[in-house]
Symmetry: C2
Subunit: 338 residues, 2 copies
């Protein structure tokens, strides 16, 4: 059905290799032959067999992107950017979903060998240091999200502590004094860092830290945020602001606050984390920490390219910090002029 080099060669009356040479832009081909080959290519509609090419070249042509779920907006947006960045390096992206469980993260990494992929970009939720040692035999890994665990692997992340601190500082600057946090979770590396930033900001401002104001979230879905907010609002002295560890938690918290008849930000201010499109259009729109997702995606792909390139000398594990900014929106300062 599909034309191969051989078909084209027969049609053009040259050898298979000459056709291959034309296809790959080799310089020294007689104009006459080049013309005939190009004609034959066009008339057969030849497309290279990527699999065969990669087999010969010793690469797979794929990188994996391991995320909890694509239906989570942050990962949906990130996946789109990774695919675009990978395309520029002639890579296709294999997306694997783990539901954020350690078991599935482990089994996914174990099933991806060098036969399948040239490298993997992992947004882990629950992996432990020991998992990395034994898994993903020899394939370059890039880990997204700064983690407390110490493992000699490339990391890409924003400065989570500083980002969280920036968010909470903003709440303090707008006059909040009883600031809660949603998202604490002993199994998530980033949660610890964001909590540390939250605490640092409070300390810096001389505000007391109250354990009852730190709400746990098992997963980071909207429903977890809604539930955590219920708990916080049931306190004898409910908070006047909440720093949520991601936008979805904040959306859930916003929902609960509204249902309880509270005005945001007048009665309670909210800050999210991730700058998803959803938060930009919510009512009220969500103040949030905005990581440069494009930079994260491009850097991750670029790191894998350098590690697989071979031309580069091996280099030590990188710890790349990508920029972020605080996007101030209505959920903390209200609608200007209203």
């Amino acid at each position: 059905m599909a034309a191969t080099l051989k078909d084209v060669a027969t049609l053009a009356g040259v050898s298979v290799k000459t056709v291959s040479n034309v296809v790959n832009g080799y310089e020294f081909v007689k104009p006459e032959n080049r013309r005939r080959v190009e004609e034959a290519l066009a008339s057969t509609g030849y497309r290279p067999h990527v699999g065969a090419r990669n087999l010969r070249r010793g690469r797979t042509g794929f990188i994996a992107l391991v995320v909890p779920e694509l239906s989570i907006p942050y990962f949906g947006e990130l996946a789109g950017l990774v695919i675009t960045a990978a395309r520029a390096q002639d890579w296709n992206v294999l997306i694997e979903q783990t539901q954020g469980t350690r078991a599935q993260e482990r089994s996914t990494l174990a099933s991806l060998g060098p036969h399948m992929i040239d490298g993997a970009i992992v947004g882990p939720e629950a992996l432990e240091a020991e998992d990395f040692a034994e898994l993903a035999g020899g394939v370059p890994l890039v880990m997204l999200g700064e983690h407390a665990i110490d493992v000699p692997i490339d990391h890409i992340a924003i400065d989570n502590v500083l980002a969280a601190k920036t968010a909470v500082r903003h709440l303090i600057e707008t006059g909040r004094r009883r600031i809660a946090a949603i998202g604490q979770n002993p199994h998530r590396g980033t949660a610890a860092l964001r909590l540390a930033g939250y605490r640092a900001a409070l300390t810096e401002a001389g505000l007391p830290m109250r354990d009852e104001l730190v709400a746990t979230a098992m997963t980071y879905h909207r429903s977890d945020g809604a539930q955590a907010m219920e708990t916080l609002l049931a306190l004898p002295e409910p908070p006047d602001a909440v720093f949520c560890f991601n936008d979805l938690l904040a959306i859930g918290a916003l929902r609960t606050a509204t249902e309880r008849g509270l005005r945001v930000p007048e009665d309670v201010a909210l800050v999210g984390f991730d700058n998803t499109d959803e938060g930009a259009y919510s009512v009220p729109s969500l103040t949030t920490i905005a990581p440069d997702k494009g930079a994260i995606a491009r850097t991750a792909v670029e790191l894998i390219r350098r590690r697989t390139g071979g031309d580069d000398d091996p280099f030590p594990p990188q710890d790349v910090q990508t920029p972020f900014m605080l996007k101030v929106r209505e959920s903390t300062i209200g609608r200007p002029g209203v």
Copy 2:
């Protein structure tokens, strides 16, 4: 680095083919040899090279999912479900983004040959009938979303006309009389169908159709919805309800309505389409048409399996209608008890 059949064979002291036979569960292998091979497999950590296997078998092991953008929640959610459904059939999913332009949809389909994929699931936005004829040479295609264009290809969709009619009927039943629509677009097949349903519901109720109440949207992003809503609200007699052709448009419209100081649903009611998670948590939550996305994903993968199976006789193009329901939420009936 990675072990091949050859390595395992050397280690076990048998031929390459015998190892292959063990790996593939061939029956007639002496227990003694089977044991040795299995030991060698374990000690080398052998993983089959999927690319080489598929090259030999004449399948690629991939199906493509062609969508506008993964950052659009509907497609992010759908992609997650397709990946899960495909995994059950030993397929990996290649996600291609087209930005919803006809040019990119064309070039994507053209670049995907039988060399790359065993089949493709296409959620087209702007393709014309003629495009399909010439493109995607010989690969089974499944089209998502009912289209006006008539082409002998498997379709999977809900009954768009009926769904739209159901949504608008609901608005009429809740007392709305001046009902607008957002999402008209001459280049989108589904837009025509949803518009038809909108008109049918109005006619059925004896309500007049006014052209100025039908707002166009070039793409289906939140910003398009916001903009279209501005236009509608600027009318001398603004609408008391708006049927949006997808949830994102509705989210944008909701945003604009709120900014203009209008209450939803008291001053203007909104209905969306797609039942994205985002709409379930917006404030107010969004009444919407909820297609069964899981059924769509599973049916699509199953159709490709049947077309590639070969055991099945060739069968005529299918037109599968998947179920949908109207999810009534606050954007049309308000919060109960408030």
